[in-house]
Structures are given as structure tokens and as C-alpha cells.
Amino acid sequence: MRMYIFTDGTTIQTIEDINTDAMGYFSVANSSRTANNFGGGIINILDYKNTSKNKSVLARTGRAQQASGTTGILMSAGQWASTSAVDTITFGMFAGEGNFVTNTTFALYGIKTA
């Protein structure tokens, strides 16, 4: 399941999808952008190894260019309906939307238990 609220700087839209094969909607820049213009964001996976809970994700992602009308801000939530501990994460584009380009980066951090 995944849902989001999105703006292009002019209007705000929301959507919810259930029974999906991946969790989360995240925003990236596409091929219309200059080579060095990337989208990005911060994704939090809550209680990732808690075997009593389904896994939830909260994210704020987006893309921007200096020119007006080329922004996108996306806040999203999602759920993986499984209580298994997360030990593998795969990021990918939706089907038919191409591949990540060279210099795309991901950094994975763990937040220590108090």
C-alpha cells in the first residue's frame, strides 16, 4: 500500500494505491533535466526489524530546477504487509520508466536504539 500528496508548485493532488508490489512513491528527476540535476529525498523506515509489526515508510522526496514550473514535492507513506525483519531493500523505477542514471546515489543509515 502506498499513498502520497504531491505538488508541482501550482496544484496539490493526492492518491492511494492498495495491494501494490512495492511500497512508497518517491520522486526523482527525469531525462528532461540537465545531466547534473537529480531528484532526491529522505525515506524513514520505522521499526524495520520489529517482527510484531507490519513495516511502514514515511518519505519526503522531490525535484527542482531554478526555472519556475519544474518543481515537484512529494510526501508519501507506505506499508509492507509483513512482520518480517527487513534485511534487503531494492530501489527501482516503475515499469517502463527507465533506469537510474550514472551518479545516482543512495545512502542507508541506521538509527541507534536509545
Binding site: 500528496i5 504531491f6 505538488t7 508541482d8 508548485g9 501550482t10 496544484t11 496539490i12 540537465t34 547534473n36 540535476n37 537529480f38 531528484g39 532526491g40 529525498g41 529522505i42 519526503r60 522531490g62 525535484r63 527542482a64 530546477q65 531554478q66 526555472a67 519556475s68 514550473g69 519544474t70 518543481t71 515537484g72 514535492i73 510526501m75 551518479n103 546515489t105 545512502a107 542507508l108 543509515y109 538509527i111 541507534k112
Partner: protein, 164 residues
């Protein structure tokens, strides 16, 4: 803060000022987080970030959010990456700005922030500096007029997020 957040520098104003500057920022982190608690001497609630002394029109900033049941969204380009949340009330409004890959010379610099203002705004920002240079200097402040400069007690802290 998680243990991966290292405080690089902090400044608290002891007199009204247009901006707070951080220089010689090390490139040894993955991301930067700028925590602003600010109050304007005037009625302007927008402030900006400039990087590496770039005062040109090389920045863009947009937001979406709400206030008292109304939705808000816009996007602007300008001479700084602009954000909201410098309060005009008795409160110092908070803003946490996350700058991604600030030292990566293959990317223009993208940043996000979340804003909650004492007068009822909640906003999600996305902004960009259209430059691939590593960020080594950050000026944070209200650059538009002296009447809106930041008051005593306004503080800015920069954290570096440690590389894996």
C-alpha cells in the same frame, strides 16, 4: 539527534543581524542539516540560504502545505534558496533544512525542509542551488531589508551526517 549527526558549528545572535555565515565547511560528510530558530525584527517571515558567496539568480524554491484548513503551494526562483519560518511573534520559529550530497560535484544541490510556524503554517519545502560545486560556505539570513533582519537570540546550527 542520532549518533551520525555531528555538530559542525552553531551561532546565536547577540545583536540584530542580516545573516549568519559558516565558512570552511569540511567535505567529510554525506549531507548537511541546518537547524534554524529565527525571529524577524519586521513582518517578513521568509529567509534564505546562499552558498559559496553566490548572489546570482541561481536558486529555486517551492513548497506545499496548509494553514487553518487551506492548502498552499508555490514555486519561485531567486537569488537565494528561500524558506519560511522566521517568526514575527514572540516565538522563534523552527526550520530544519536537509541538504543532500552537499560535496558531490556531479550534482546540483537539492534540499528539503519542514516548517511549523507559531501562526499556523505547516509547510514542506524543496529547493535547489543550480551549481555542482561542493558547498564550503553557507550564509543564512534575511537579505531583503534591514527592517526584517534577525533579532538577538536567533540561532543556526549546522550538523554533518557521517558517511557510512
Amino acid at each position: 539527534m542520532p549518533a551520525t549527526y555531528n555538530a559542525i558549528a552553531t551561532t546565536t545572535l547577540t545583536a540584530t543581524a542580516a545573516s549568519i555565515s559558516f565558512t570552511s565547511i569540511t567535505s567529510s560528510y554525506t549531507d548537511l542539516v541546518v537547524v534554524v530558530k529565527a525571529k524577524s525584527a519586521g513582518n517578513n517571515t521568509t529567509f534564505g540560504l546562499k552558498f559559496n558567496g553566490d548572489t546570482g539568480s541561481n536558486y529555486g524554491s517551492g513548497y506545499m502545505g496548509g494553514q487553518n484548513g487551506s492548502t498552499l503551494t508555490t514555486f519561485n526562483s531567486g537569488t537565494s534558496a528561500s524558506f519560511n519560518a522566521q517568526s514575527q511573534s514572540s516565538e522563534f520559529a523552527p526550520n530544519v533544512i536537509h541538504i543532500l550530497n552537499y560535496a558531490n560535484t556531479n550534482m546540483q544541490k537539492l534540499m528539503f525542509s519542514e516548517v511549523n510556524q507559531p501562526n499556523g503554517y505547516t509547510l514542506q519545502y524543496c529547493a535547489i542551488w543550480s551549481n555542482t560545486s561542493a558547498i564550503t560556505t553557507i550564509d543564512v539570513g534575511n537579505f531583503d531589508s534591514a527592517g526584517n533582519h534577525w533579532v538577538t537570540g536567533t540561532s543556526v546550527t549546522i550538523y554533518g551526517i557521517a558517511k557510512a
